[in-house]
């Protein structure tokens, strides 16, 4: 309290000045019409400025909340999108033929997840056991082979693609009929290696390679790729194969259902 009085005493001149000016100003803007309206206009403008500034600031602080709201809204919108709905219809295309018996059925599926640059590459598709997909079924796409089902759950399946060192499939030259094993040793997702081609085989760069049915996986004659180059390795030829399937652009695939697979397996396992 003493300090307050001290302060007032010390600055009495300035305080008195401020007090009197404030009193005068209050008189001016309250009892003089032109000044009143002028002050009104100025104070309104000032208030407007203050409000807009505070609004800007509070808007900034509300950003987090607004963001959360938007994310929530996005989530809801995504859920309503057609690609978020799980397709329960089982479209199994059956090619009926009067003369020939049906051996293969195709189940269309959409690729949900895809990898091409790992050591072991897999893709996930949106069809599973419920749609008749089982382990070891082969998967193809319009431009060539894709891989083989390694695991399937109720609604999804995991497919080991050609771009996986564990994947191995018997492949033949479309024209000459010589065959070898197609493998992938990592690296480039566009090329694989065809190994164990007999030395007497006639190989030309650009030869077309298709699947054969030796490995009891793919239907015979599915496009694999073309020979890019070849060389001798031990007692065999090896060829670099430019894969016809573009694994970077997979979206729809067909899972091949071999109706006679069991029968053949039973027969072959009996040897």
């Amino acid at each position: 309290m003493e300090k307050l009085f001290d302060f007032i005493n010390k600055h009495s001149f300035l305080l008195m000045f401020l007090l009197l000016q404030i009193v005068s100003f209050i008189f001016i803007v309250n009892f003089n019409e032109p000044q009143k309206s002028r002050f009104g206009a100025v104070s309104t403008a000032f208030q407007g400025r203050i409000y807009s500034v505070t609004q800007k600031i509070t808007r900034y602080f509300n950003l987090v909340e607004a963001n959360e709201r938007l994310v929530e809204e996005n989530r809801r919108l995504y859920e309503n999108q057609i690609f978020s709905q799980y397709d329960h219809t089982i479209r199994s295309k059956v090619v009926t033929d009067e003369v020939l018996d049906q051996q293969y059925e195709y189940i269309t599926a959409v690729v949900l997840n895809n990898s091409t640059n790992k050591v072991k590459n897999y893709i996930t598709i949106n069809k599973g056991r419920k749609h008749g997909i089982q382990k070891n079924m082969s998967v193809i796409c319009p431009s060539g082979i894709v891989g083989v089902v390694v695991r399937s759950s109720e609604n999804f399946s995991l497919i080991m693609t050609v771009l996986n060192p564990q994947f191995k499939v018997s492949t033949k030259f479309k024209d000459s009929g010589f065959y070898g094993s197609l493998m992938w040793h990592g690296g480039d997702y566009e090329t694989a290696t065809l190994e164990e081609i007999p030395l007497h085989a006639i190989i030309n760069v650009g030869d077309t390679l298709v699947t054969n049915s030796y490995s009891n996986m793919f239907p015979s004659g599915i496009m694999v790729g073309t020979v890019e180059s070849f060389y001798q390795k031990d007692n065999f030829f090896s060829a670099d194969v430019l894969l016809s399937t573009d694994f970077k652009r997979l979206d729809y695939v067909y899972v091949v259902k071999d109706l006679f697979k069991k029968e053949r397996e039973n027969l072959e396992s009996g040897i």
């Binding site: 005068s24 100003f25 001016i28 803007v29 003089n32």
Partner: protein, 167 residues
Amino acid sequence: MEKITRYFIVFVVLELLQILVFNNVSAIGQIAPYLYVGFILVLPVTFPPTLLLLLAFVSGFLIDLSINSLGVHACATVMMAFARPTVLTWLSPRVGYESNNVPILRYFGLAWVLKYTSVCVAIHHITLYFCFTLTFDDMGFMFIRMLINVFLTVLVIIVTEYFVIKR
């Protein structure tokens, strides 16, 4: 005591002169000499500044009451009284002021009084014009009017000092 009475008489006379005569002299538009501020100017150099502010407020407020412009003259006069000590320090003679110095023509000479009065009156008028309009629009015209008004007020104050406060 005698001094206080004399100042009181000066105060009353100046206020009355302002209210009854000079406020009606608005011959050239809004320009009128504001003689009443002379009272604040002629108070002794050592007059307590806080009291000076109060007196300035009262004198200005009386004028406001007479011409129905509450606060305008009070504000201007208080502003002038606030500036007065600074102006006095600024204009102080080389030897400094003596305790009984009164800043009037008789003691300080025409040149000094002219400077002192002009600066104080200019401060008063600038504040006054601003309080009247509360805007800085149309500065040029306002400035000219203000200049003429300052000239007029200073003239009237000095003439009054010369004739009246000579005793």
